[in-house]
């Protein structure tokens, strides 16, 4: 069973013991290489979905359930540890001969309170079977027996069964610690090789002078900002009377910024690169904290009167967000309500949905990064006057400071869904994945 990573802050005199290392890197590696995740589907049930009923989808097949959070034949997944979970699924309805609305939703049960949010929603035409999908992020607390599951909905006036096989697919994935317990690392650093036992040596031609604030070394492995270097130290011992320690202020390749030296040091002089407390705090503690609590956000627009103007693709309207249910790094601000600003560079999974109200329409959803070309996902059509929800899911690479916006585009003017039930509205989900 995975354990919450709770890495220690190292002090100068701490011994790097096996027990301490087990308590930190092992917990994280266990959690992220055997991540709490569930993948299940409905293959043989052919579940009956009554009209105008929110139907929890039975999952009769498990593809992955490493921590036994699901019981075959049940609808729900209960997480083994608390955290933010990204739940996603699709529902495959069997053919229906009557036109009407179809939808898929994600439910999170938090402390015994159920909340369904509908995803892709459209009006099928009575000729084709429908396969809507949905994604959402929710905070689940294992100690209050929270759960998540996939919901199917149709309202054509008669019962529709799910298809056999492939009646539904559902997955949920732990993506971060709960915001109440995670530790934010605002400037995570790439992990470095461990310092070499024999350290390195000065590469500056002629050495460095007293008062130098920079030194070039043969090998920068293990040298980190805030760490310590021993000039004219070898294997922990002074090799000259003017040996001294300096603090690393910057690292640019093999050029190392240092606190000013008191003495001159010759070319080829040995440089000790100790496994300092600063090294361990940056390279073990901070790496663990960041990977266990990366940027994750879920923004919503529940009550807005915003209207999508009639537009022709690829023109779109940015959706304004009213609140952040989850925002581990504070990437969203009400002062720029359409933007989520990426706090850290890297690859992100983005999911957005644009829910419009009562419109026979063509509606699209797309994402744009810092004013660039909008990347469009769904462009779907409704054949009747119902709520319509288009979705987009992309994995993109961005740099810190860029921002993402969700765009909607409709061929006739359409107000965003202002749902009295708070279950059908626009959302934007953001998950950091990788440098």
């Amino acid at each position: 069973m995975p354990t919450y990573p709770a890495p220690r802050t190292w002090s100068a005199d701490d011994i790097i013991s096996a027990s301490r290392l087990r308590a930190d890197p092992v917990n994280l590696a266990w959690l992220l290489t055997k991540r709490p995740m569930f993948i299940g589907s409905q293959q043989s049930t052919g579940q009956s979905c009554a009209t105008d009923v929110s139907q929890a989808v039975t999952l009769d097949t498990e593809t992955l359930d490493g921590y036994n959070g699901h019981v075959i034949g049940s609808t729900t997944y209960s997480p083994p540890i608390s955290g933010c979970y990204l739940s996603e699924g699709s529902v495959g309805f069997a053919s229906a001969s009557t036109a009407g609305p179809f939808s898929a939703g994600i439910q999170f049960n938090q402390n015994s309170v159920n909340a369904i949010v509908w995803g892709q929603t459209f009006n099928a035409n009575g000729t084709n079977d429908a396969g809507p999908r949905a994604s959402d992020i929710g905070a689940l607390n294992a100690t209050t027996f929270d759960f998540t599951n996939l919901i199917a909905f149709q309202n054509i006036g008669s019962t529709v069964n799910l298809a056999t096989p492939n009646g539904a697919f559902f997955s949920t994935e732990w993506v971060s610690l709960l915001p109440s317990v995670g530790t934010k690392v605002t400037s995570p650093q790439p992990v470095e090789l461990w310092p070499p036992n024999n350290g390195t040596s000065i590469a500056n031609s002629g050495g460095i002078a007293a008062g130098a604030t920079s030194v070039t070394v043969e090998n920068a492995a293990g040298i980190v900002v805030g760490g310590t270097l021993g000039l004219d130290y070898y294997a922990g011992q002074q090799v000259h009377t003017y040996a001294e320690t300096v603090t690393v202020t910057s690292v640019a390749g093999t050029t190392i910024g240092i606190s000013a030296t008191s003495y001159a040091h010759g070319q080829y002089a040995p440089v000790a690169v100790p496994v300092s407390a600063a090294f361990l705090n940056q390279q073990v503690r901070d790496v663990i904290n960041f990977l266990a609590f990366p940027p994750v956000a879920r923004l919503n627009n529940i009550t807005s009167a915003q209207t999508l103007a009639a537009q022709t693709l690829p023109a779109g309207t940015a959706i304004s967000w009213e609140a952040a249910n989850i925002d581990t790094f504070g990437g969203w601000s009400a002062s720029t309500p359409t933007e989520y600003v990426f706090p850290v560079s890297g690859i992100y999974t983005i999911y957005g949905q644009v829910f419009v109200h009562n419109s026979a329409n063509n509606v699209s959803a797309g994402i744009g990064v810092s004013g660039g070309t909008i990347l469009w996902g769904d462009s779907i059509k409704s054949t009747g006057s119902i709520a319509l929800c288009a979705t987009v899911r992309k994995t993109i690479r961005v740099t810190a400071g860029q921002y993402v916006q969700l765009f909607g585009s409709a061929t006739t003017a359409a107000p965003l869904q202002a749902s009295t039930a708070s279950s059908a509205y626009s959302t934007l989900c953001v998950v950091w994945r990788s440098f």
Partner: protein
């Protein structure tokens, strides 16, 4: 982007004086991979694919690797395969984009390669361009399993071409998620 060794849960033996190389194995390899996970991002930029109105499942000709540090993409088969030794669970993200379609056509995303599940279907827009997006998590055996994007057009009256216009392209993104 850099590539890294397969991550593993480290074992720290007691009563042992490690060398720095031990820490490379115990911590650097795992942490570096978890920070910089295996990823592929690709799209269709050069030549459109025709999706027939017969309902035949058609592999979309993804032709451009935007990011593929582990070199798993085959532009001829349009499939991506993780390298040998890198088996694991992957998050696959699809966007299927086409020209505007006839009124009754149903667009469906189908997985290509090792898996062939149909995972999302909706009436595509009849204005300007149609599109659907989908996501799936699956296990891929390194060096063996492959994955791509395919599409099916149901009850349509005409073939449909995919779009290669920037912002309106079909895409596939794959992200390593977990080992077991």
């Amino acid at each position: 982007m850099a590539t890294f060794a397969v991550p593993a849960v480290p074992v720290f033996p007691p009563g042992y004086q490690p060398q720095n190389a031990d820490f490379t194995l115990w911590w650097f390899d795992t942490a570096a991979f978890l920070e910089t996970k295996m990823a592929f991002r690709g799209d269709q930029e050069n030549a459109a694919t025709t999706i027939p109105d017969t309902g035949a499942v058609t592999t979309i000709g993804l032709d451009t690797a935007i990011e593929d540090p582990y070199g798993g993409f085959n532009a001829t088969t349009h499939l991506w395969t993780p390298p040998a030794g890198y088996s694991g669970w992957f998050d696959v993200c699809y966007t299927l984009r086409t020209a505007a379609q006839a009124a009754n056509g149903m667009l469906q995303i189908v997985m290509a390669g090792t898996y062939s599940y149909a995972i999302d279907q909706a009436l595509g827009s009849t204005s300007t361009g149609a599109g659907i997006s989908a996501q799936f998590r699956c296990y891929l055996v390194g060096g063996q399993d492959s994955i791509g994007l395919a599409a099916q057009l149901k009850n349509a009256t005409a073939n449909l071409n995919t779009s290669i216009t920037a912002g309106l392209r079909s895409t596939m993104e794959i992200m390593w998620t977990s080992q077991s």
